[in-house]
């Protein structure tokens, strides 16, 4: 039974890691992400076979249980994820704005030569 759970967990980690490694992004971030992913996968596999390991590491860091250590790591990872996706959303918005503005300006009739230009937001 234990063997089966271990097998499923390891497979899940490998598949998840592979899927993430293939993702896009610029080269530097991609490399960092890949390193982190490999480290994560390694720890995940290790913890499956040596369940006590995380608790020992946690104790070393002054944290009660391995579960807590995982929870903390998860929170940090989540915050990083939030920050990076927020950043990406902003970049995307800036791009869309430029694109939409270009379309808007191209479609509008060019202003004829005249003195002033009151406008309306």
């Amino acid at each position: 039974m234990i063997i089966l759970v271990q097998l499923v967990l390891v497979l899940a980690v490998i598949v998840g890691a592979l899927a993430l490694i293939r993702g896009g992004g610029d080269a530097k971030h991609q490399a960092v992400r890949r390193i982190l992913l490999v480290a994560f996968a390694g720890v995940a596999v290790l913890s499956v076979f040596v369940p006590g390991l995380l608790t020992r590491v946690a104790n070393l860091l002054g944290i009660g249980r391995g579960t807590d250590l995982v929870l903390y790591a998860l929170i940090v990872a989540f915050m990083v994820f939030m920050a990076s996706s927020f950043q990406r959303a902003r970049q995307l918005e800036a791009r869309i704005t430029k694109l939409a503005r270009r379309i808007a300006l191209d479609e509008a009739p060019r202003p004829d030569a005249a003195a002033k230009e009151p406008r309306d937001g």
Partner: protein, 212 residues
């Protein structure tokens, strides 16, 4: 403008009585505002999708700058809360060489007819821009402004949504044009009251203040 079909026609008509060129940036309205503004005589620049007021302002600036003879840009909210007469006087001050930028202010003279809570929000916004830019402004979030063309050319708004007002003030603070405030009256109709920025925006203003 964004979905202002009920008022945009009269706003454009009112502006055309005083000014010869009215540009209306349609921010992806779905209620036919663009067609109404066009038939009222405005040049309509249409965002294909809704981007926000700051983006619309920047689009309007860039459109106006295509005209080499551009003298000044007047920003005027599409919901009819400003008075054309105020805009005309403000433009006259720029033309007279008194200033490069004239910003409308509700609080310069006497008291505007706003609720206490709203006043607090607007005052906080003004305080925020004062603290972050050093400009002594009494009303940082007034949509009525007259900006001379050379200054307009140097403005680049990247905040698409409501934060653009603070961003504009910040860029003006760095450009250091001759800047004056001009007392204006805001026509708080039922319509504009219903549409006006939420008081919750005060939270955003405070956040801007502390997390810059």
């Amino acid at each position: 403008m964004f979905n202002e079909a009920t008022v945009i026609g009269s706003v454009v008509t009112g502006l055309l009585e005083e000014f010869s060129h009215v540009v209306c940036v349609d921010d992806g309205s779905s209620d036919g505002s663009a067609a109404i503004a066009r038939s009222a005589g405005a040049v309509v620049v249409q965002h294909p999708v809704n981007l926000g007021q700051g983006a619309a302002l920047q689009t309007g600036f860039e459109y106006a700058l295509q005209d080499p003879e551009l003298e000044a840009v007047i920003t005027f909210d599409a919901d009819g809360q400003h008075r054309v007469a105020d805009a005309a006087v403000m433009l006259a001050r720029v033309r007279a060489g008194e200033a490069d930028v004239v910003l409308g202010s509700r609080f310069l003279e006497g008291s505007a007819d706003v609720s206490r809570l709203k006043r607090l929000v607007l005052r906080t916004a003004a305080l925020q821009s004062r603290m972050s830019t050093g400009l002594q402004l009494t009303d940082a979030h007034n949509g009525l402004r007259v900006i001379a063309a050379p200054v307009v050319a140097k403005i680049n708004l990247t905040q698409n949504r409501m934060a653009h007002a603070s961003e504009l003030i910040q860029q003006l603070a760095e450009l250091k044009p001759v800047l004056v405030e001009h007392p204006v009256e805001i026509v708080y109709t039922e319509y504009s009251k219903a549409k006006g920025q939420s008081l919750l925006n005060g939270v955003n203003i405070l956040a801007d203040l502390f997390f810059r």
